[in-house]
Structures are given as C-alpha cells and as structure tokens.
Amino acid sequence: MSTNGHDPGAGLAVRCRGMRKHFGSVAAVDGVDLDVRTGEILGLLGPNGAGKTTAIRVLTTLLPPDGGEVLVFGRDATADPFGVRRLIGYVPQQLSADGSLSGRENVGLFARLFDVPRRERAARTDEVLRVVGLADVADRLASTYSGGMVRRLELAQALVSNPRLLVLDEPTIGLDPVGRDSVWERVHELRHELDMTVLVTTHYMEEADEHCDRVAIMHRGRIEAVGEPGALKAAIGPEATLEDVFRRHSGHEFEEGGDLRDVRSTRRTARRLG
C-alpha cells in the first residue's frame, strides 16, 4: 500500500487509464483516460447521463470499476480504498446535510468518521466552519439554512478530514445565482489557501469556462476532449464557446441526453428542504 517514486501516477492527483463501469448492458463509463494535476481545478463536463456521476463514484471508491486503473495520489482505488478515501473530500449532487442536526453537529459527524483525534475535533470543526463562512450560524439546525448555505456546510463536512482532493458532483445544481457565486468563491479560496486539488462535475458550460483551470468533456461514457477552456475554444474559432467545443468533439447538441434520475433527485431535494 505504500507509495514509492516509481508509481506512474505519483505526480498526479488522479490518474485513470481505461476506466470502465457497466450497468447491465449499458456502459456508463466506457474506457476513460483522465489525469488531474495536483493543485488544479478540473471540470468534468457533459450533459446529464454522460457518465460523470458514475465516473466520480468509481473514483471515490463507492463503486468498483469493471476494468482499468484508478490511482488517487498514487494509491489504487481498488486495492486500497480506505487509503484513497482518507485523501478525498466528497460532496454529492444532492443537498446532503442532515436537517435535524446543527451545522456544527453535521461537521462533527464527519470529523469522527475520519478519525480526527478527539482533542483536535472541536478546533478543526470550528476552523472549517469559519473557512466556509458559517461560524455565526453553526449552532442553528441545518434545516434552517438556505441552499447555498447547505452547500457550504457540505464543503465544511468534506474539508474537516483535511483531504488533498476535493470531489464536487454538480455543486451548483439547484442553487440561485447568489448561492452559486458563494460556492465558487469558496472553492477558489480553498484551492489557494489550502493547496487543494479540485475535481468538479457540472453541466453548466459557462461556470466551467469561468472557474476551471482545465476541462474534460465527457459524452456517452468517454472523454472527448481535455484542455484549458481558452485553448479548446481557440482551436475551434475566435468566437467559439465551450458548447461549440462540445458539439465539435461529440457531434451532438449539448442538450441531448438527459437522465430522468437526475431530475427526480433534484425534485426530491427541493421537496425535502421545503
């Protein structure tokens, strides 16, 4: 389980080669090669149903891959899932904080589950709540938080274990513009202040364009293009947008695809938070 200098993925936060995941006859992830460089914000882009969430679930060890290699900071996700989990902070697509607990208790739960030593727990919890700007409301029930505040609380939950890689699945879905801005603002701060690598999935092209160092465009379980947003656009034409890039590489309109499950889970989240 030890990391040595000869590991092929040693300099990278994430190294995927030929990653595959099937559900029955459907290849949700169909041979993905992807590198995430240490310290960058990489956006995994694609329409609903492109396989982004499945790719994330394999990367975070939630699902075993059917084939290929997945390394996180040189650790193999299949052989050493616990080692990988200790390096990852994960925020799922749904607003997943527990409304029947206070903000502080929500964070405290994950401090315990990541074996943060007891004498450091309170200080670490306070610290991450301060970092995401929730120190003043830490003792209120999370059910009283706005959508943007819940997202920031989830960032605090993901940060309390002091991960090296932050994995965010559609972090701004269902948020109003103010909430979206506040989430991205925190992500940038975290990257700079905590030296964090960020892997984020989104289907909002403009957000990826504005906030990601590099983007990987995913379509039908495959990575179609990877690069800096500016370079990808420039290769197409002077006025090109990331949507044009997507269209060029996939041969499809961006809106195509769509997955009823995404819609359902978003609705459920909306209903649950009243």
Binding site: R86, L101, S102, L113, R124, V131, N162
Partner: protein, 275 residues
C-alpha cells in the same frame, strides 16, 4: 491559513492493522452513530413523548381489559405484570422496524454515499445505525418501567437487572433495525419497506410470547414463536424485570447472535442502495 489545516494525513493510517485496534475502531464508529442519534433526540423531544403513547395505551387498555378477563394462563402472575415486559419488547421492535426507511431517505439525499466514502465499512454503518435504534429503545425502557411501576406492576428493580434489561432491549432493537435495513437493501424503495415492515411486525409480535405464552398457540405458530428472536427478548425481560423463570443465557445468546447475523446480512445488501 492556520496550522491545523496544513497537517496532511500521514500515509496509510489504518487502525485496523491489529485485532484490538480494529475492535476499538469499529466500536468508535458505533459510538459516533449513537452520538448523532442523541443529538437528534435533543433537538426533537416530541419524539420521546409520542413514542411513549403506544406502550402506555397497550398497558392501560389491553392490559387492564385482559386483567379483568383472566383469559391468559400467566404462570401465576397478575396479567399486567406478565404483559409489561412484552410491551417493552414490542416498543423496541416498533422503534426499529422502520429504520430501513431512514436509510432509503439517506440514499435519496446522498447521505449514504457520503457515509460510504468515509473510511467506514458497510458493516460499521449498519451496526452503528442499529445501535442508534438501540439508543431510542433505551428511552422506551425508561418509559415502560416507569409506566409499569405507576400501574402497580411488581417490578424487580435491582440495578443489575435494570442494566441487563437495558442491554437486551438495545441489542433487540439493533437486531430489528438490521432486519429493516436488510429489507431496505433488497427492495430499495420507501413504500415497499413500509409495506413489508408492517407485514412482518404483526407476526413477529403476535407469534411471540409477548402477550400470552407460546403454549397457547397451535403447533405451527408455536414453532414460529420458538424461532422468533422477539420471544427470547421477552423471556429475558420478563425474567429480569418481574422475576419469572427465564433462560437468560440462552436468551442473550439468541438475541446477540441474531444481531451479529443481522449486521452481516444487512452489510452485504447495503451497498446495493448506492449503485
């Protein structure tokens, strides 16, 4: 940024490398889920009151009526004395048998995925949630013992008996919670967990010795009554709280063994919920 956040996890810190370390670590996960349950109870105390209503009604309405009827052969005990431990066991069953619904809710809310991406194996999640149900069962122990005492039940109140009764109740509730989580992992929907939960509650309760001795049942129901873990929980509680002849070691072994099996099975099906 301040110091605590700069320190990174140092390599593969895995407390499971030695057997005592693994046990302590597994126990720490269980404690974590129990702490969360206590925090939730502190925020919503109405739950405590509403959970007390059902056992109170069973003791008052069913218990008082059947005391008058004298229809049940109760090993020479007043019927209310005979019934009180049964009602306690029943209320630990009811606390736990719909726990699977919470797990489905957590699946829908992304919470389960988040828990399973921490260094916590499914068995620890399942055991933790089982004992969290046990925390609620502990509340039921207090409620039923106090109610029974108020209604004039002759209780044995030696501290070791109360502690042992609390342990049996917690382990019993934890088992029924793992049963419910197993159902959740198999049927994957809230409505079906609800339906199956209701369908199994009735035979678990009525085909046990909670309300009447299993001797009074037709043979095939008596057979179910003797493999029903609730019967052993009731037997232990009755022996501990009202001093009947109980097979305490057998009862503890059956209830504890059921929990171990329940954790193993529920842990095997839990990951189905995040696929």
């Amino acid at each position: 940024m301040s110091a605590p956040l700069v320190a990174r996890p140092a390599g593969s810190v895995d407390p499971r490398t030695s057997a005592p370390g693994a046990l302590r670590w597994f126990a720490s996960r269980i404690v974590t889920f129990c702490v969360v349950e206590l925090q939730k109870l502190r925020h919503d105390r109405t739950e405590l009151a509403t959970r007390a209503i059902q056992p109170a009604l069973w003791l008052l309405i069913f218990g008082k009526t059947f005391s008058e009827l004298r229809a049940v052969e109760t090993e020479g005990l007043p019927y209310l004395d005979y019934l009180a431990p049964g009602v306690l066991a029943q209320s630990t069953l009811f606390v736990a048998v719909f726990y699977g619904i919470q797990v489905i809710w957590e699946r829908d809310a992304g919470v389960l995925a988040k828990l399973l991406v921490t260094p916590t194996p499914p068995s620890a999640v399942v055991a933790g949630k089982g004992f969290a149900a046990g925390v609620r069962a502990l509340v039921q122990v207090v409620v039923v013992v106090v109610l029974a005492a108020l209604l004039g039940v002759h209780l044995e109140l030696a501290p070791w008996r109360l502690v042992a009764a609390a342990v049996v109740s917690i382990v019993g509730a934890a088992f029924f919670a793992t049963l419910s989580m197993t159902i959740a992992g198999l049927v994957l929907s809230r409505e079906r967990v609800m339906g199956i939960g209701q369908a199994i509650t009735m035979p678990l309760f009525f085909a046990s010795n909670a309300l009447y001795p299993t001797d009074a049942m037709p043979a095939w129901i008596r057979w179910f009554g003797t493999v029903n873990p609730l019967s052993y929980e009731v037997d232990a509680l009755r022996g501990l709280l009202v001093g009947t002849d109980a097979h305490l070691w057998l009862d503890f072994a059956v209830v504890g063994g059921s929990l171990v099996a329940g954790v193993a099975v529920a842990a095997a099906v839990l990951p189905r919920l995040v696929r």
